[in-house]
Symmetry: D2
Subunit: 413 residues, 4 copies
C-alpha cells in the first residue's frame, strides 16, 4: 500500500483544537458532546441543529437523555470554550459549558471557527450538509451512512483500518476545485463496527477469513430516539432491522479490504486512482458474509454470535484464537490516540460472559470490544460472541478516534 | 423402516382415558394440567408431586402461574374426573376439578388407575421415578431429559418422527421381565423441538441437509420457575445456557435419523436389534449441527436464526423453501390427533415477523411453529427464523400429542 | 333522577345492527374491530381512517398489532358483513371479513348505512369529525377525550353510571336543529375507568366517599402506538403522564356525581336543564381526589394503589369492603348486555395479586376489574390495589357496552 | 437531647483504618467491597462468608455482579491492604487487591485485626454472628434488619439522624460485661431510607409532619440475588413485598423520633435510660404513616410517590417545599464525611424527572436522593416523588457514612 500517511511517527501533543458538532440535539450528538466535554485536545466551539433549535441555548433546545447530567459535563475534565473568548490566548480557558452555548444552524459559515466538525446528523439531511462542509474546506468526521459507499470516502473503524485515511488525498484532489483541507471520513454502522474488530485481529494473526456468519442481538439505543416503540420491543425480539444485514455484509468487505491501484480509473495525468479492494483483490480469497439482525430489549450493547472459517488449513485452535484476540494491538494504541481503549479486545473466560448489562463498558470504557465463548464450530471453524458498546465505539467514539488519528498523522492541521 | 406400527389406519375415537401427571406443581406440570383439562379424551385422575405437597389439595399445594385461573380450567371443555367416581359408568362425568384433587406421591402404586402417565418431573428425580413407573407396566410420556439418550427410548417431536415410537417394542422386550404395557417415551428439549420441525419439512421436500447453524434467543419460561433471576436477564442477554447447545446438536441427529438394524447388537435369538442411525447411516451424508444459545428477556417463545446447506446442488430457492414449509403436513394431522395443530408451519411474508409477543401462539395455538424471513444465505444456502412456543410444542403439548399418537396406533390400550 | 330511560325492562334481543369504526387503523380501532368481529349483535359495515389509508383494503392499510391474527378474527364468532350484501335479507350472513373491507374516509356520508358508529380517533381530529357525525344524526360512541367535559355529553363507565345516558335527550334537544337520533356518548380515560368501579361499588354499599388518593402504574399500551419510546421506559419508571392526573381528578367527579336540575340554566320553556352534579350536589359531601400517575414497563394492565376515606364513621372494615366489592352487580349485568363481565369485580385473597401479567384478563375477560390487598390505611380508612385491562374495559369494551345498553334501553333504534 | 457526642468538632483526618466485610460474596457485600476499594480512609483487611466460600480466593468464591469489574476495583483509588503486610508501616501501601484475599469464616477471631466491621449478612444468620462480633468488642455497622428494632441499637439514616449514635454508650454499658469498643449500629431498610430524607428536611424547615402516604415502586436489586424470579417481574408489577410496608411504617417513627429519657427504665444508679421517642413524645403530634409497596421491573432505584400533611396551618407552598429540600444540609456534610453526597437532595423542575434509569446516581452519585414533581395534594397538603439508589444510600453507602461519622466523632478509635 502506498500511503502518504507516515506509519507511526506520532506528532507532538497538539494544542487545543476547536471542534463543532452537527445534529447536536440528537442521540449521537448528545454522545459527541458528552465525550468531547472531557477531551484533552478538542474544545467544543459550535453546536448545530435544525431550525427548531437554532438560536436557543443548548440546554433549552435539547431533551437530554444521557445518564451524566448535562450540567455536570466536563467538571472533572476540560470542558467547553467560552463562546465570547475565542482568541488564541483564551483557547486553553474552559470556563464555558456546552449547556449554555447558543445552537447554530448547520451551515459552514456558522462553523468557520472550527478546525474539525463531527456529524451526528440523520441520514435524511446529512447528504447535502456534509457535502457543503467539505466544499467549504472543513474536515468532517461523520457518523451518518450517506457517504459510506462512496469510493473516495474512507469507511474507518479506528481499531481496524485507520490507514484507509490515506484515500482522502485522492478525495480532495478529485474535488473541483481541489481541496486543501476539507474532506469527509465516515465510520461504520454500529453492528459492523463491533464484530469487525475481532475479525481484523484474526486476519492479522492467521491470514484471510473465508466466510463469516453473524447473528446480531442489537440494543434499542442503536435506533436513536424516539426510535423503537416500546410496544414493539418490551418482552419481545424483532427479527429484522431494515437495511442492517446489507450494511454488515458490504461494509465488512470495504473495511477489511486493502487499498490498491484501480484497474480501470486513472488520474488526469494517467496514474491509476486508488480504490478499495473490497476484500477480494490481490489473490486474496473473497470473503463471504451472511448476517441475521435482531432487535432485543437491551438499552446499550450489541451482542453478536459469530461463526467463521479461515482460509488456512488446519485452522487455529480456540486457544490460539483467544490469545490472538487478547494480544491484538491496533495502531491507534501505539500511536497514542487519547481515546484509544487500554485494551482493544477483552477476552472473557467465564462461560456466560460478556453480557450487555454487566460488560458493555468492559475494561475499555466502551472504546474496545469484549469477546467470550471462543470455541469450535461444528460447521465452520470457530465461533464466539462479541459485545460492543454501540453508542461508544459503535458511534461517536469512533468518529473522535478517527479525528485524533488524523491529527496525529498531520492530516488535520 | 420395518415398524410394527401401522402407518395410517386411525383407530376409532377412544373412550375416556384416565391419566396422571407427575411433577404436577411445577411449571411443566401446570401446563399439563391446563391442557389436559380441556382434552377430549384424557381425564385427569391423579396428580403427583413431592413429599411437601402430598396430601394437600392441589390448589393449596401449587403456586399457580398460568394466565388461565386454576379455578376456571376446563369450564368450556372436558374437565377432570371426580375422584370419588371412577367406575366406568362415571368416566364421562366431569364434575370434579383439578384444583380440588388431593396430591399424591410419585409412586406407581398411587397411579395404578391411570392408563397413561405424563411426567413433568425435574431431572434430579425423574430418573428413578420414571423407571419405576415403566417397571410397573405404566406407559409414561416424559418431558424430562433423563432417558433421551437411551438407545431404546424414542425421542419424539410429534410433528417430525412419531414413527420412532416403534422402538418401544424392543424397549419392552429387553426389560426384565419383558413388559406388556409399560414404556418410556421422551420428547425433545424445547429449543431442539422448534427448529427441527422446519428441518424435517425441508428434508422431506429436498432431501438431506448437510449442515445447520442455529443461533437461539430463548425465553425465560424455558428455564422453569424460579428459573432465571431477574437481575440476570432484565434488559440483558445471557449468551449461554448450560448444556443447551450440546442438546440441540445431538438431539437433532437422533430425531432426524431413521431406525435401522443395529450392526453390532443382536437379540437373544440372533436377530439384529433396532437402532437409531443418528442421521448418518444408509449412505445418507452426516448432518453437522452448530448451535449458539442465548437467553433473552422474553416470557414465552424461542426465536431461532437458522442457516443451512442442503446436500442437493443446486439448492432450492427461497420461494421453494417457503412453499415446502407452508405445505408440510405431518402424520399426526392426517391421523387425526386432536391436539395436532391446524397448521404445522405458518410462514410469514412480512419482513419483521414472526415475533414472540405477537406470534407465539400463531394460527396453530402453540402446537406448530412459525417461520419467517426465508432468504438466501451468503455462506450456506438458505436462512430463516423460526419461532416456537416453548411451553406448548416445546414441552407438554408434545408429550400429549405423542400419547394421542400412541393411542391411535393401539400402543396404549 | 327523572330519566326517560326506563330502568330495567330489557328489550328483546335485537336483530343485526350495522356499525362503523372511525380511526380503524389505530390501536383503539384495532381493538374495536377485534371485539366487534365476535359480537352477537353488531356487524362491522364500514371502517374509516385517514386519507393515507382511504381506498385500501383494511389488511393493507393497517399495521396489525393484536395477538389474534387479523385473518383469524371472528372465525368462531359472528364476523363482518359482506360489503356487497347489505340488503336486510343478507344481514345475518357473515361471509365477509374486516380484513378485506375497503377503508373509507371519516365522513358521515360514507357511514350512512351504519346505525351506530364507534370512534377510536385521535384527539387531534376527533372534535370536528365526531361533531359532524352527530349532526348527521348518527349515534356515536367515542373513546376520544374531546367531548368528555361537555356538560351535555355523558361520560359513562358502563359498570358505574350508564343511567347518565339520559342526558342525551337534552343533548339532542339543544342541537340546532334538534336531533332525532344523533348524539355523542363518551367513555372515560383508562386510568379513571379502572379505579372508579370499586369506588362506585363502595359508595353504593357504604355511602359517600370523602377523599381518595390514587397512585397509578400504567401500561404502555395506554399511550397508543408508537406511543412511549422504548428508550424512555425499558427498565424504567416515568413519574408523569401529561394531563392524566387532572383527568382522573375531574372525571371521577362527573362519573360518580348524579344528574340534577341545573340551578342556573333553563330550557326555552323555562324548565330547568339537567346537569351533572360533579359529586357535590344534594347535600352530599364533596369528594376530593388526588392522583399521581406513573408509566411502567408493562404491556397491558393499569395497576392503581388506592387509599380512601369514607364519610361514614366508623368506616367499614376491610372484610366488609371485600364483601361489598365482590358482590357488586352493576345494571349492565342485570339488563343483559352481552359484553358485560360475568363478574364486575374479582377480589383476590392472595397477598401478591392481582398482577398485570397474570390477571389482566381475570375471570372477567378484561371487562371487569380485579381488586386485591384490601386492608386498613393508617392515614385514611381503607387501601387496596385495583387492576384493569386498559385496552378492554379501559377503552373499546366500554364504548361497546355503552352501545349495548343504549340498544337495550331503546335509545338506538 | 443530652448526647455524649460533641456536635460538630470534626476530628483530624484519620490514618488508615482496617475494616472487614461480613457476607462478602452477597449482593450487599459486593457493594461494600466496591465502595471500600475506593475509600480514602478504610482499607479492606478481611472478608468473611459462609463455609462454602471459606478458604478460597475471593475472586473464586464470588459470582461478581457489579458493573465495575472485580479486577479493576480501586485502580484509580486507594485499594486493598496486602494481606501479608499488616504492620502499621505498611498500612498505607495498597498493592493488594480484594480479588485475591482469602475468604474467612464469620467469626470474631478471624477479624481481630479489624477496627470496624461491616455486615452485609442475610437476616437468617446475622443475629448470632453480629452479636458475637459486638461481644468481642468489635464495632459493627450492619445492613441487616435483625437489630433494627432493638431499643438500644440506633437505626441511622446518615443524612437524617446520625446523632442517634449517642445511644451506643448505653448499649455498651448494658452489655455484660460492659463493652469498651464493641457495638452494633444499623441502617434502615432501603425503601425507608429514600423517602425519610426529604421528610427530615421538611420537618427541619416546617415542623412536624402529621401524616404520610407513600406508594413505592421498588427495583429488583432491593431483593438481592437471586432475588426476584424473572418470570414474576418481567413486564409486570407485583403489588406486594413481604414485610416491607410494616418496616417503612415503624422505621420512620424511630428515625424521625428523638432520644429522650425513658419514663420507665432506670440505670443501676437510678438515672433514667435513654429511649427513642418514636416520633410521638415531647408533645410532638404522633406521625401516621401508610405505605403501599410494589416491585417493578427496574434494576436499580426505588421510586416513591409521597403525599403528606403538615401539622402547621397553613402548610408551606410547593415552592417553599422545593426550596427547603434543595437547601437541606445534613450534619454529615458539614462534618466532612468523605462519602457524604455533594448535594443531599437534588430537586428536579422537569415534569417527568427523576427517573430511575437516568437519575439514580443523580449529581450525588447515589449517596443523596432526587425529588421531583413537588405540587399540591388535593387530599393532604403536598405531594412529590423521590428516587433513591437502593444499592447505595439504601444499603452499603449508609453503613459506610455511619462509620465515617463514628470515626469523626471519636466513637471508633
Amino acid at each position: 500500500m502506498s500511503s502518504k500517511i507516515s506509519p507511526s511517527t506520532p506528532a507532538s501533543p497538539p494544542k487545543k483544537i476547536r471542534v463543532g458538532v452537527l445534529g447536536a440535539t440528537g442521540t449521537v450528538g448528545q454522545r459527541f458532546i458528552t465525550l468531547l466535554s472531557e477531551h484533552p485536545w478538542f474544545v467544543i466551539d459550535s453546536l448545530g441543529a435544525s431550525e427548531r433549535s437554532k438560536g436557543k441555548k443548548y440546554k433549552e433546545a435539547v431533551k437530554w437523555k444521557q445518564t451524566v447530567p448535562l450540567g455536570g459535563l466536563g467538571l472533572g475534565g476540560i470542558g467547553v470554550l467560552d463562546q465570547e473568548k475565542t482568541s488564541s490566548a483564551d483557547l486553553h480557558r474552559d470556563d464555558g459549558r456546552a449547556a449554555d452555548l447558543i445552537v447554530k444552524g448547520c451551515t459552514p459559515e456558522e462553523f468557520k471557527n472550527c478546525q474539525i466538525v463531527f456529524s451526528g446528523l440523520d441520514a435524511e439531511v446529512a447528504g447535502d450538509i456534509e457535502s457543503a462542509f467539505r466544499s467549504a474546506n472543513i474536515p468532517l468526521f461523520s457518523n451518518a451512512k450517506n457517504y459510506r459507499r462512496d469510493p473516495h470516502v474512507p469507511l474507518i473503524v479506528p481499531l481496524v483500518n485507520p490507514s484507509h485515511l490515506s484515500i482522502i488525498h485522492q478525495q480532495q484532489r478529485l474535488h473541483s476545485p481541489p481541496l486543501s483541507k476539507g474532506f469527509i471520513v465516515t465510520n461504520a454502522n454500529c453492528s459492523t463496527t463491533g464484530y469487525v474488530i475481532p475479525l481484523a485481529a484474526l486476519e492479522k494473526a492467521f491470514g484471510p477469513i473465508e466466510s463469516v456468519l453473524v447473528t446480531t442481538m442489537q440494543a434499542i439505543s442503536g435506533a436513536g430516539y424516539p426510535g423503537v416503540p416500546s410496544l414493539d420491543i418490551l418482552g419481545n425480539v424483532v427479527p429484522y432491522i431494515g437495511g442492517e444485514e446489507e450494511k454488515i455484509e458490504w461494509e465488512t468487505l470495504k473495511i477489511l479490504g486493502g487499498i490498491t491501484d484501480s484497474e480501470t480509473e486513472v488520474d488526469s495525468d494517467g496514474t491509476p486512482l486508488k480504490a478499495f479492494d473490497m476484500h477480494q483483490g490481490n489473490g486474496k480469497p473473497a470473503l463471504r458474509v451472511s448476517a441475521s439482525c435482531n432487535r432485543v430489549p437491551v438499552i446499550d450493547g450489541h451482542m453478536e454470535c459469530v461463526s467463521l472459517r479461515f482460509h488456512r488449513r488446519p485452522p487455529p485452535s480456540p486457544q490460539h484464537v483467544r490469545e490472538a484476540l487478547a494480544s491484538f494491538t491496533p495502531e491507534i494504541q501505539s500511536l497514542g490516540c487519547p481515546s484509544a481503549p487500554r485494551k482493544a479486545i477483552e477476552v472473557f473466560e467465564e462461560p456466560d460472559r460478556p453480557q450487555p448489562r454487566l460488560d458493555v463498558k468492559g475494561s475499555h470504557n466502551g472504546a474496545g470490544v469484549s469477546v467470550g465463548r471462543v470455541r469450535q464450530c461444528q460447521v465452520l471453524d470457530i465461533k464466539f460472541v462479541v459485545l460492543s458498546d454501540n453508542v461508544s465505539i459503535g458511534a461517536a467514539t469512533s468518529s473522535i478516534i478517527n479525528a485524533e488519528y488524523a491529527v496525529l498523522k498531520g492530516v488535520v492541521s
